[in-house]
Amino acid sequence: MTLLALDWAIIIEKLILIVIIVLTTLLITLYTTFGERKVAAILQDRPGPNRAGPFGLLQPLADGLKLIMKEEIIPTSASKWLFILGPGLAMTASLMTSAVIPWGTEIHLFGRTIELQVADINIGLLYVFAVVSMGVYGIMIGGWASNNKFSLMSALRAASQAISYEIAMGLALIALLMSTGTLSLKTIVADQAAGHWWNVVYQPLGFLIFFICAMAECNRTPFDLPEAENELNFGYHQEYSSMKLGFYLFAEYVNMIMSSAIMASMYFGGYDLPFFDETTVAPNIAALIGIGTLLIKIVLFVFLFMWIRWTIPRFRYDQLMNLGWKKMIPLALFNMLITGAIILSKS
C-alpha cells in the first residue's frame, strides 16, 4: 500500500509540466525551422517564405503537412525495425534533455508550489551528457539500418565527430563545475540568479569551447559533416522519407533549442533577468518573467546558431578532427588548469 501513499498530485503536476514542455518545445521547433529559413533569407537579401499566411507564418504547418502526406518508403534491403527506431531515438533523446532544465523559479497555483523543472536531480549535468550522447545512436542506427554506403559513412562520421567533441565539451564543463561546485542545474542557475555574476564571466574560454562543441554535437554548419550534401548525397537520412525524415530534421532543431537552453542556464544565468529585482513583484509574475527571460535567451542563441550557419562554410573532415583533438581538447585542459589554479590561490 506504499504505492498509494504517494503524493499523487505531484505525479499529475509533473505529467502536466512534461506535456506542456514537450508540446511547447515542438511548437517552438516548428517555428525554428521557419525562423531558420527567414534568417537565411534575410542574411542573403531575400524575403524568405512569405506566401502561406501573413508573413508566411503558416509555412511550418504547410511543411509539416507535406511531410506527413508524403509516401513512406522503407527500402527492401533495410533492417526494418532499426530503420524505424532510428528517427524515434533521435527525437526522444533530444527531447529528454528538457527534463532537467529549470524553466523558471516556481509558480504558486491552487495552494501548491509548482517547481518549473521536471526533475531536480543532483547530477543534472551528467544526465544531460548521457542523453546528449544517446542522440548519436539515432543517427548511427538510422545510417546503419538504411543499408546504404553513404548513410553508413555519414553515420560513422557523426559518431566519431560526436565522440571527439564530447571530450572537449566535458572538460569545459569540469572547469565550470570546479567554479560552481555543483552538478545540479537548478543550483547553478539559482546561484547565478542570487546576485553573482553569470558564469560566462568566470568561464569565458570554457563557454567558447562549450559553444563550439555544442554546435558540433547538433551537427550544425560548420560541423554538419554527417549530412554534407556534396559528399554524401544527403547523409544518414538519405533513405528516409515522409515523417521519419521529418523526425530527423526536427530532432536537429530540438537539439539546437536544448543546447541553447543548457548554455543559457549554465553560462548566462538561465531565467535570471539582469538588473531586475524579482522580489519586487509577485512571485508568480516573477516566475513568468523568468520563463520569458529564458525563452529570449534561447531565441538569441538559436539566432546565433543560424547566423553562424549562414556565414561559415563547412570544415573539411581532417580539419574537423584537427580542431577537435589538437585544439579544443588542449584548450579545454588549459582552461581547467587555470580554473583550478585560481580556485586554489583563492582558498
Binding site: 537579401d45 531575400r46 549562414w310
Partner: protein, 178 residues
Amino acid sequence: MQALTNKSIAVNRSPMTFWERLYLINIIKGMMITFSHMFKKQPTVRYPEQKREFSPVFRGLHVLNRDEAGRENCTACGLCAVACPAEAITMEAAERQEGEEHLYKEEKYAAKYEINMLRCIFCGLCEEACPKDAIYLSETFAPANYTRKGFIYDKNDLLIPNTLTNATELAKAKGVEA
C-alpha cells in the same frame, strides 16, 4: 612571362600568423558582413503583386491591329507567314462580302489566323514584314497553359478589341486601366 594585364594581384602565401590561425577573428569579421546584409534592400520583385516593367522594345505576345474605324487591317497576304523563321503562323484568306465593309479594311481578309506560341521565337520578323500595320508584338508574354492546344492562339485571342464598340476593353488590354 609577361603578364597580360597589370590587374593581377599576387597571392599572399606567407604562413598564417597566430591570430589568423585562431580563425575566430576572421569568423567574427565574416559574421559582421552577413549581419550587415540584414539591413540591405532586397532586390526581390514580389512577382504576382509586383511586376517588373518591360522595355518599350520588348517583343511579347502578338496582336492583330485594327484601323481607326475598327476594321481589321490584315489582308491575309501571307508575308508574315513567309517571314516567320519558326513557321509558327498559319492563315486562310477569304473574300470580303457585300455588307462586310465595316469589318474588314480591304477586299481580302484572314478567315483563319493562328500562331503557335510554342513554335514562335518572338523574333519580330512578322511585324517587320507586314505591309498593312496589321501585326504587332505587344509587351505581354504568353501565360502558362495546361495543353499544347492552348498555345495555338487563333484570331479571337490575337485581335485587339474594337476601338469603337469596345473602348473600355481596349483600354484594359493596353494596360491603361488595371
